[in-house]
Every structure is written in C-alpha cells, then in structure tokens.
Symmetry: C2
Subunit: 277 residues, 2 copies
Amino acid sequence: MTYPLPALVNGRPDALISPAERGLAYGDGVFRTLPVIQGKPQVWPLHYAKLNGDCCRLSLACPSAAALLEDIQQLYADQGTGVAKIIITRGAGGRGYAISPEVQSTRIVMRTAMPDYPSQYGQTGVHLTLCNLRLAHQPRLAGIKHLNRLENVLARMEWQDPDIFDGLLLDQQGSVIEGTMSNILLRFDARLLTPDLKNCGVEGVTRDRILKLAPALGLQADISDISLDQLMQADEVILCNSLFGAWQVASFNGKTWQSQPLAEQLRNLLQEQHEID
Amino acid sequence: MTYPLPALVNGRPDALISPAERGLAYGDGVFRTLPVIQGKPQVWPLHYAKLNGDCCRLSLACPSAAALLEDIQQLYADQGTGVAKIIITRGAGGRGYAISPEVQSTRIVMRTAMPDYPSQYGQTGVHLTLCNLRLAHQPRLAGIKHLNRLENVLARMEWQDPDIFDGLLLDQQGSVIEGTMSNILLRFDARLLTPDLKNCGVEGVTRDRILKLAPALGLQADISDISLDQLMQADEVILCNSLFGAWQVASFNGKTWQSQPLAEQLRNLLQEQHEID
C-alpha cells in the first residue's frame, strides 16, 4: 500500500499516524484547507488566526505559525501551486475520553492538487441542491472547523450528479446554514446577508473576508437568521470558500438566477488581497 | 516515536494510518470496545451485529466477522485478558467529502489493558457528576457508536476529580441521555427505564442486554423520555457498559442512594451470558 500524498506529520516526511491517534478515535482536532500559489500560502495570517482560535475552543495546543509555514514551504519547495491541508489533533493517547497529560498534539500538513473546477463556473454560476440532512445545534462546536464532519459526509452522499456543485444544509429548525463545503451569502438590493452560525456551521475565513469587503462594493453586510423562503427571494445567492473564492448560484430548488456581477467583483477583491498579502 | 500499542491495521501488525484517512479527516467511521477474557471476545455476536448495523447506517462496508475474529485472536494469541477496540473507517481517500469509488474501508483492531476499576465500585457504587455540555439532536447519527465524539471529549474535560466515575449528559432540551462512557438505567419500583436515544446518544450493547434480562428479575423494562427531575426520584440509578457491566450510582447532584442489590444481580446475569456464550 502506498500513500502518494505528500504529507508531513510533526514535520517528518511520509510519517504515518498512530492507530491510537485521538484525531482518529474521536475526531479530536481541527483543520484548515487553503490555496498555495507559487509556493506562497494565501491570506496565511487569517488562516492561522482561525486555526489558533479553533484550537482554543477545544483547549488544544496550536503549533506555532513558524512550524506550520516551514512544513508548507517544505511541501512546496518547488514553488508550485496547490492546496495545503492542515490537521491539528489532540495526539496519540490511551483509550478513553479523558486526556492524558502526556498527550502531545499532532501536526499534519498535506499537499494536494488544486481542484479542477470548470472555468465557466465564473461566468454561469453553479448549481446547488437541497440536502435532506439537517444540521444539529451544538453551540459548543458551532463555527469550528473540527474533525467531526459526519454530517457533511452523509449530506454529500445525497447526490451523484457531477453538475451539482454543492448541497445546501438547513438546521433542524429549517434555517439556512451553509453548503457542505462552502458558506453562503444572499444579496437583497444593497444588503448582503449570511446565516448566523451560533448553533451550527463552520465560520469560514472567506465568509469573514467578504463581510469586511462588502462596504467597498456599496453593500451593507449583516449576519442573520435566514429561512429557506428568504433565500428563494434573494436577488443573488453566492457560495464562498478559500479555494474558489466566490461563485454565484445559478439554480437551486427549481429557481434560476440570472448571472450578475457581484460574485466576480468579490472574487477580484479577494484576489487583490492575495496579491498584497 | 514508538507506538507501544499492539494493533493490527487491515490485519497487518504495527501498520500505521495514512494521513489521508477519512477516519481522521472527518471521523468517518465507527468503533467498538469489548472485553476479551482469556483470549475470547465476550458476547461477540452482539458486538458484531451492532458494528455491522452501525456501518450500515453510514453506508460503510463492514469487514467480515471472521476477519475481525482473526485479528483479535492474533492480538490475544497468549490467551490473555484485556480490551479489544475495533475501528472501521471509510478508508484513505482524496480531499473533499465526496467518497471516491476506489476508497476501501480500513479495519483497525487494538489491544489495551482492562481498566483498573477500584473493586469497591461493585459494593458502594460510583459517583456521577452533571455535565454542562448538552448533546445535540441529530437523528441521522443517534444511536451509532461513530467516530464523531467531540461532545464526549469536551464533556469529559469538565471534571478532574478521580472519585467521579462518569458525567451525565443531557440533551439540548434537558432530557437525560447517557454518561460520557456509559448508558444509564433508572429503577422505579418494578419498572426499569432507560432514555430514548432517537435523537442522540449511543445505543450500547450492554443496555440492550439489560433490557432483555430485566424480566428475569421481575422488572418491566421500557425506553422513555426521562427528565432530570425524574432521575432524582428514581429508587436506583445504574450505569452500564461493556467493560464493567453494571454499577449503581451512589451519588449524583447532591443526592445519595443506598446500596441495593440490582446492579450486582445484573452484573451476575451479564457474566453468566459470557460463560454460556
């Protein structure tokens, strides 16, 4: 069995994971996925701040930014372009939920190819489906990009059609939360709304960046509870994540939206930040 | 770095886990923890049935009972006594929630020591604390012993006192669900009640066994929604899991219960089943 994936575990090349790893046993850890362009991790300070904040929420020791940057530089020594996936776990420990004081966190950095999205997504937008799975309310975990992602896995199993880009997740009360791999924003005239993630969902770095960029486009950005009915009335629906930036939703739940310039404007603004970063 | 844990990964000794393992990335898998006495896994048919059922719920290919028994026999070739922990994951795959058709599930079997519980627990009972963390409602995952266990990890962080045996978990509505590492049963006169786990919690094998054994002790066993107030009124509170069987709760939330014979009777009945198994 070979593992073609270039990966560093605690800085060691091709190291593998202990079967006693709590990241495996309990999903006891957090992760990040970010683009690396010509060897340079994009908007790194924001990604590290989010990683560190997520670790704090779980009382997990976060490795230094320097150690992680060194790992990324080692995996991208060719100055190549791709994705860096970072996983920080509680570490390898004995059986049982209690955390032994000797346990030391495990730092995993992997290099994978940039996803090969069709170029027309930028012009035509993407298709979104509605998932049957409803996200559970857990305020203690809400917002964190942690390793307990079975809800996303089960939701992603709901469709096979390659033309569907992502699935919309509602919570148990039917409020709009996010895509399985993206955050969602809705434009109503000059207002940009994104769901409140206090009970479930992942607070992505790109969602935060867009909320901060919105005023530059004359938009008032707000976080709010959003119903499915509201979403269907939106002038524009946008998905975002760190890898593709922002894409407009072209169709969802029987409705189609005409292509509009906002998603492209947001992509350009996000891109400019990469260049000045 | 050494991993002293005796473990088999897909039947291979001392094999380690790929950093691309979906069990690590997403907690995409299930597990079992069962006692092995003199080389013999206890009530194996029930544990395998539960493992298989949990795999089905996640559309995960479950290894054959024969392959798992062979692993256990290899780890316990000395006819020793301990714990077998089985983890079945979706396997090592690429980045992203979608499951690649080539992914093959990973089978991990580990041997650990039997926990060294104080012998007086059988006579005096154990102390239970109330956790602040409330379990989320997720019917799609409820009952399954899956690898998304951050709720248990966070709940277990709430106490350090070694005299506290387990923490009671309520759900977001305040209903009694389970301990962090045990199921709970309440006796009211000749009725034995255990919480309904349709929205959260793990349906343990020992809980099922006790429900079936109860009539032999003149008890009517029922599954029901249980409030914290009801729990405080119970004549007897019992915790159970596969490793210790059944123990009475001696104190919880400011109340103490006198030692009564039910937990010991249940332990003896569970033990007899081991012997005829």
